[in-house]
């Protein structure tokens, strides 16, 4: 027994020693489930690490939680998609040097039978109204993520009080994009998803895109450094290198190159002339 304890304790210290070695050259990035689950990071990061020797450790959570992690100083860089919340984050001094990196769009997912008769139109707000009128099941994120906030803005624009319908046709799952789509697939419900997660999602069952292409479904991703003045441990130089690389021609090209079944998931839109705010 004692030998076991010794062996395991030794193993534990080896483990911590090996992570200590890597510590010289890594940054922690709080990002969203959409960038991780769509496979974008798996495609982008090896190239960046090879070029710079910097390992990027991604903690993938909802945008709200990612910003919270940054606020507490638990990461170096935040890479999310909720512009109003990001600007607020910068305004409050938690983040600096925000840059826009890429965009994709949200799509309305629904069952193939389309019980709310949303059709394949382009008007997302009209579609939301139809879902509310038909009281068709709508599966919502409800987790303070970028997608969740975008969805809530759309309900507001449609003049539908989604909170009042909670527990009825509006089903607030409080979970990530993938679990929400799993739930929608199981209960033949509608859901708002970012296109990237949708394309890489493997449990589609009977679900299909029912509305896409509305200007209001635009989904901008932004990246910023956690403010080193508030949190001196932030790896400023390494973090900046990552941000600069993503908005550089090489990084932008790498983003554009990521495709699933020939379909591009994210569209680079960094304005390289604009210096950090």
């Amino acid at each position: 027994m004692r030998a076991w304890v010794l062996a395991l304790t030794a193993g534990f210290f080896l483990l911590s020693a090996s992570s200590a070695n890597a510590e010289q050259q890594f940054i922690t990035v709080a990002s969203t489930t959409s960038t991780e689950e769509s496979g974008l990071f798996g495609h982008l990061l090896p190239g960046f690490t090879k070029e710079t020797g910097i390992e990027v450790r991604v903690v993938a959570v909802g945008t709200g939680q990612a910003l919270k992690i940054g606020e507490r100083g638990d990461c170096d860089v935040v890479f999310v998609h909720d512009k109003p919340a990001e600007l607020d984050f910068v305004a409050k001094g938690f983040g600096i040097g925000r840059r826009e990196v890429m965009y994709n769009d949200f799509v309305l997912i629904g069952p193939g039978a389309d019980p709310a008769q949303v059709g394949r139109g382009k008007d997302i707000v009209a579609a939301f109204r139809k879902i509310a009128q038909a009281q068709a099941p709508f599966v919502a994120r409800g987790d303070d993520s970028g997608t969740s906030k975008a969805e809530l803005r759309l309900w507001q624009e449609a003049g539908v009080d989604s909170t009042a319908a909670r527990g009825g046709w509006y089903r607030d799952t409080g979970s990530g994009m993938g679990p929400t789509l799993n739930t929608a697939a199981a209960m033949d419900g509608y859901a708002l998803s970012d296109r990237g997660t949708w394309l890489s999602f493997k449990n589609k069952q009977d679900l299909k895109i029912v509305v896409e292409g509305d200007r209001r479904l635009f989904n901008q991703y932004g990246i910023m450094l956690v403010n080193p003045v508030k949190h001196p441990e932030v790896k400023q130089a390494l973090g900046r290198k990552f941000i600069d690389w993503l908005v550089s021609p090489a990084g932008q090209q790498a983003i554009a190159n990521y495709k699933i079944n020939g379909e591009q998931l994210f569209f680079p839109d960094a304005d390289s002339r604009r210096p950090g705010a």
Binding site: W4, V5, L8, T9, G11, F12, L15, S16, S19, T28, T33, E36, E37, F41, G42, R57, V58, V59, A60, R72, G73, D74, G176, M177, G178, P179, L181, N182, A185, S200, F201, K202, N203, K204, H231, E233
Partner: protein, 235 residues
């Protein structure tokens, strides 16, 4: 049904492929959970023994507390450790958040009450049977506890195995303090969560089957050791 067959197939393919990423995930899972159980045993056994043999005001309350903490939700344990280790928390200076060490700490918090609670019950029964003998012989407190631990060693294995089960199965705590970072803090259970999110249910369940087999192997080994030791003790 075809889903379940797909999962079995996925599990089989995972094992056959010997994928280095899978090997890394499995060994990280095992080293985190087993290390946490070692620490939890080191804290939990003496705690359980102390609660079994001593009588002090508030002991009942302490027993109830330990028993209640056996059911501590992993997410709560994770959140507690997260707030401790966060840069903005009291231990933030250590920079331990999102590392395997943080995951070991969280699981130790989670498993210690289980080891202590099960051990207390087993030792209390022994104490009821033999306690008077120790008192009559004038054996000191520390030696009494050591002797009881040795007497009860076979039942205590169950306490430790309950801890192993909890540590290997939980995802709530390590997901929060580890962050499920690929290649750094991704374990079996957090990988299962991720694959479920991706909608790759067969792969998720396949990973689950691999995990189940591993836990089964640990328990079988413990049972084997216990039986061998028991028959050796009988001779």
């Amino acid at each position: 049904m075809p889903d379940l067959l797909d999962a079995l197939l996925a599990a089989w393919q995972l094992v056959l492929s010997g994928d280095p990423a899978l090997v890394a995930i499995v060994s990280l899972s095992l080293s985190i959970s087993l290390t946490a159980v070692v620490f939890a045993t080191a804290f939990g056994l003496p705690l359980g023994a102390a609660l079994a043999v001593s009588r002090f005001p508030g002991r009942n309350a302490a027993v109830v507390l330990v028993n209640a903490l056996m059911g501590l939700p992993p997410v709560v344990a994770g959140l507690f450790v997260y707030l401790l280790l966060s840069r903005s928390g009291p231990l933030g200076g250590l920079g331990l958040l999102f590392t395997p060490t943080a995951m070991i700490i969280a699981q130790t918090v989670l498993v210690t009450p289980i080891v202590a609670g099960v051990a207390r019950q087993a030792l209390e029964d022994l104490w009821r049977d033999y306690g008077e003998l120790y008192v009559l012989d004038g054996v000191g407190r520390v030696r009494t506890v050591a002797s009881l631990l040795w007497l009860g060693r076979f039942s205590l294995v169950t306490a430790v195995l309950a801890g192993v089960g909890r540590a290997a199965a939980e995802v709530g705590a390590i997901l929060i303090v580890g962050g499920n970072i690929a290649g750094v803090t991704r374990t079996m259970t957090t990988a299962i969560t991720l694959e479920t999110s991706r909608g790759d249910l067969a792969l998720a369940l396949g990973l689950g089957i691999v995990l189940l087999v591993l836990v089964l192997a640990i328990n079988a080994t413990a049972q084997l050791i216990r039986n061998t030791a028991r028959s050796a003790a009988a001779i």
